[in-house]
């Protein structure tokens, strides 16, 4: 439906304003990242531009390692989280009874508990297990973060798939698992992929767990950047360059999978 004639200019203006509001901060940090140190305080005037900030930002201690670590943790957390919550969501969607209701109540309850309430003692636990400041010490808590919410969302995905389709598969001789793998899972895949993309981004962007559970052995990007703000608060050109690089992978993932995200959540 096209907007009626007299409302068109107004509509166009509103669209432009909203677009600007959403894009401007990112564009501004991008512009700042391209200015040399001498021009950074007057970004809005001056015409010198440079790409040197990116190299200089990456040369900072721990910066390259933190990019690699963030990418690795995000990837594995996504795989593990999806794997354990697909079945959990399916169970919530297809089974009734005491176990299912208790599990659902548990998930809702633990979803509500603020992160800070369990990440402070998690520091002690991971220290005691000897995995503080290692990949496992951050990866497994990240999966725990996603268990509750993703089970809930996955339940929604499976709820929207009619159980009749699976019944039809039973009649054709499929087992319960067969029906799950051949019917329910393929139909839920667009949603699951979309959730995977979002999960990757959440983990890449996560700050609190990374701050508490990692140190110098496994530096994480968001923590490194926040330190950067307070260590070198005046080097705005380097800070912006780092921020732009941090935006890069996330930007690519979502640009590449944008239609998928929207489609997947439409289910």
């Amino acid at each position: 439906m096209l907007a009626p004639g007299w409302r068109r200019p107004f509509f166009g203006l509103a669209v432009a304003a909203v677009t600007l509001l959403m894009v401007f901060p990112v564009a501004w940090i991008g512009l700042t990242a391209l200015r040399p140190a001498s021009g950074v305080f007057y970004v809005h005037r001056g015409t010198e531009f440079t790409l040197g900030n990116f190299a200089e930002a990456l040369a900072k201690p721990e910066m390259k390692a933190s990019f690699v670590n963030s990418a690795l943790i995000a990837t594995f957390a996504t795989i593990f989280s999806l794997a354990v919550t697909i079945t959990s969501g399916y169970m919530l969607s297809r089974f009734q009874g005491a176990t299912a209701s208790v599990w659902f109540a548990l998930i809702y309850l633990f979803r509500c508990i603020p992160y800070i309430s369990w990440v402070i003692p998690l520091y002690l636990l991971t220290q005691w297990l000897g995995i503080l400041d290692t990949y496992w010490g951050l990866l497994l808590p990240h999966v725990a973060i996603h268990v509750c919410f993703f089970s809930w969302i996955m339940k929604g995905f499976f709820d929207s798939i009619s159980p009749d389709l699976e019944s039809a598969a039973y009649i054709d001789g499929c087992s319960r698992w067969g029906a799950f793998f051949r019917v329910a899972l393929p139909l839920a895949t667009p949603g699951i992929v979309a959730l995977g993309v979002l999960c990757w981004l959440y983990t890449w962007n996560e700050f609190l767990f990374a701050l508490i559970l990692t140190g110098s052995r496994t530096p994480m990007l968001t923590v490194r950047m926040a330190q950067f703000v307070h260590e070198t608060g005046i080097e705005w050109h380097l800070m912006s360059a780092t921020a732009v690089i941090a935006l890069g992978p996330a930007l690519l993932v979502t640009l590449f999978a944008q239609e998928y995200v929207v489609k997947g959540l439409r289910i």
């Binding site: 677009t19 940090i29 809005h44 508990i113 990440v119 926040a226």
Partner: protein
């Protein structure tokens, strides 16, 4: 059937339930680096947190203010954008990508962007304000402007999330009620108010519940923008608990404060959940 939830349950038990038990235990003891006995002190830590004027006078009001403002802002903006995007127009794809952009931005990066834009000497916001003849504002010096900046950052970050979910729901609405309404002569506002909005109620409620619970525990953007300052006046409860545990090394007070917050959010969550069930019930 149980096999389906065992992996999820094990992870949840070991990395969320066990830590909460450890934390609860620590909150009843005198748990500091200098006290290897970890003496049992009962409710003393809770008493100390609850009688701390900073906690009940600044931290809790800040947390609730942030929660209310960021959920309301995100919901209204998200609903408006979803209504706007739920039609065909030229440049739709570009606009949709632009609106999704904040969703991909790490909160820490968003916080850095806003801190730079609101820098008191060189930030573009003050440059523009001076250009139009206003006095420049030292944004991060006052409590009110600092809170406003933190809230604005959060609304900017989360509006796309509301938009996507609401837009997805709009796309799946049955066309018949709107057609019937149009035949009965309802204008766009009435169609929205009496047909679209009630049909969207379940998804709106889900958005509000999820976001309210998330907003209550905000940490990253507050930490990066203000660190709780100026003079601890913008601390939210997560920042307060973190500082107690890892800055002042009062592990006992930190866990006690974090559990007080958990109790509050449970009550809030329960109230919202009842509202949610009611809304879903009505929609059936």
């Amino acid at each position: 059937m149980l096999a389906l939830i065992v992996p999820a349950f094990l992870i949840l038990a070991l990395f969320q339930i066990v830590p909460i038990v450890i934390g609860a235990n620590a909150s009843f003891r005198s748990w500091s680096l200098f006290n290897p006995q970890k003496t049992w002190v009962g409710l003393a830590n809770y008493r100390q947190v609850l009688t701390d004027p900073l906690f009940y006078g600044t931290v809790l009001p800040n947390t609730f203010l942030f929660m209310a403002a960021s959920v309301t802002g995100g919901l209204v903006a998200g609903l408006a954008l979803a209504m706007m995007l739920n039609r065909r127009f030229r440049g739709e794809r570009i606009v949709r990508t632009a609106i999704l952009l904040p969703l991909m931005v790490p909160p820490v990066v968003a916080a850095i962007m806003i801190t730079w834009m609101c820098n008191d000497q060189f930030g573009i916001v003050n440059v523009v304000m001076q250009a139009v003849g206003l006095e420049p504002v030292p944004w991060l010096v006052y409590r009110s402007t600092s809170m406003a900046i933190v809230i604005a950052t959060d609304v900017w970050l989360w509006t796309p999330w509301f938009t996507i979910l609401i837009l997805a729901a709009l796309r799946t609405l049955p066309p018949e009620p709107h057609e019937a309404g149009r035949i009965d002569g309802a204008g766009p506002w009435r169609l929205f108010r009496y047909i679209t909005l009630p049909l969207l109620r379940p998804v709106l409620m889900v958005c509000v519940v999820v976001r309210a619970i998330d907003a209550f525990r905000v940490f990253d953007i507050v930490w990066t923008i203000t660190k709780g300052g100026p003079a601890r006046s913008t601390e939210t409860f997560s920042i307060y608990a973190y500082k107690q545990a890892f800055v002042y090394l009062n592990f006992d007070l930190g866990t006690a404060a974090s559990l007080v917050g958990a109790a509050i959010v449970m009550v809030v969550g329960a109230v919202l959940y009842r509202g949610l069930s009611a809304a879903v019930e009505v929609s059936r």
